[in-house]
Structures are given as structure tokens and as C-alpha cells.
Amino acid sequence: VSEPSELHGPGDPASPSGLVDHYFRHEYGRLVAVLVRRVGLHQLDAVEDAVQGALLAALTTWLSNGIPQDPSAWLYRVAHNHLLGGLRKEQGHQRVLDGVAARDAHEGEEPVPPAFAAEVRDELLRMLFVCCDEAIPQESRLVLALKTLCGFSTGEIAFRLFTSEANHPRRIV
């Protein structure tokens, strides 16, 4: 799990692309943890889809327009918008949406990215505890942590654990 201090901005001499190694993978875990905290664990699938969508959007937009000043804030904003857009489409989630919208109304128009490194660490730790819940079969806890916190795809996890991709849980609730 990455420390926020690793999330360097553009022009980092460590990498010709301006992104430190594993930046996308670390951002994935960070964004999933922060957004799950925001809309609830039962929306984990929607959160993961939104974060994946934001990274894909970054892939095309950053290549043609350059990497933004604050890539982490850019990703958060796009993932947040994808998430609310996705939830809005789902009829059954209207209540959740109302709750989030009401909270957003208090916080102003723009979503507020987590400001403090300690806050992000808390979200990641919270997510790690979720992954270690005893209600989840032991082998699934590892897979879940590698997927949601570390940003590995199920294919990559299966490759490392020598198991079939089909055995991995999509959902935990």
C-alpha cells in the first residue's frame, strides 16, 4: 500500500513519463478506499467500475493534453463524477444518492479531495480491516486485499496465486 508521499506530480525525474512506478495501481487502491468510505461498502462494485473508468480516461486525456498539475486530484474528481453518474442510473440506489447529494450540497459544488495524508492512510487501513473480515473465507481475504487495496487485476492475482480466475469473488456482500 502506497504512502501518499510517493504520489509525485508531473516532471518527477524518477520516471520519463512523469509518473512514479506503480502510480496507477497505488491510485486505484487509494481511490477505492476513499470512495467506499463515501458511499458505503455495499457499493464496492460501482466504486471499482468508477475508478477503473477514471484511470482509462486519464490514459487518453493525459496523452493528448499532458499530465495535469495535480494528477491525483484529477483522478479523484473524474472517479467521483463517474461514480455519481453510475449510481444515478441505478433505480434502486436513489436513497444512497440522495444521501451523498445532500452531503455534497453542504460541501459546495466541487467534490473535496481528502486533504491530509493521515486521512488517506485511515481510509486504506479501514479498507484493509474490511478485507480481513472473518465472515470472508480466508483465501478470499488475500484476493480482496490485493484487488481493492493494491489495484491488481484478478488476472494478475490468479497468475501469481496459480488459481483460476473464476474462483475469485466479484462481490463480498
Binding site: S17, H22, F24, Q52, A58, L59, T60, F152, S153, G155
Partner: protein, 118 residues
Amino acid sequence: MPKRKYLVLFRSQPTGGGPQPSPSPEQMQQMVVAYKSWMEKFKDDILDLGDKLKSDGRVVTASGVADGPFVEAKEVVGGFMIVSAESYDGAVAVVRACPAVHAPGALLEVRELAGAKM
């Protein structure tokens, strides 16, 4: 030798194996790195990085307008760019080095623009 302009069409053929799985975060970052180094290497040859094309469109003929592109088409044009080179060999060298060549089912068509010697 004067440079000429070439249009590159990104086509894709059906790969047969159903929809491709979405790339993992690590793969996406590798794609950014690969494209960035390719763009840097050929920055004098890539005149216009072009764009992706959205999947819907319109097909216009004298008799009317239909929604397109034609769904029965075996290949779909997914994007374009414009490169400059002295010859087809030079243009092909730029295109062969493009990471998009390695996408499943990718087929890149290179066509010289007829009236555009630079």
C-alpha cells in the same frame, strides 16, 4: 527530399474471443509510458496525434442519412492520426513503432495525402 503527409487509420478486426478484458492499472500505466516514449521519439514526424472516434455515427448518401457506421462491417475505424515522412518507408517506421500496433486485432492503414507535399 520534400516531406509528404500520410493519414493513418486505426482499424480493428474482430478478435473472436469476445470483449477484451479491461486493462489492469499496471497495464494502463505501462501504456502511458510506451505511448509517451513513442511520441517523444517521433515528435517531429507526428503532425497530428489525431483522436479516437466514438462508436456511433451517420452515413450520408444522395438518398438519405442512416445511423452508422455499418454494423455488419468486419473492420471498424476507431481513430486516426497524421504523420509526415519522405516516403512510405518512413511513415511505416513511425506507425510500426506505435504501441497501438500491438492491440488485439489492430490493423493500421497508411495512406499518402495526394495534394499535400510540404
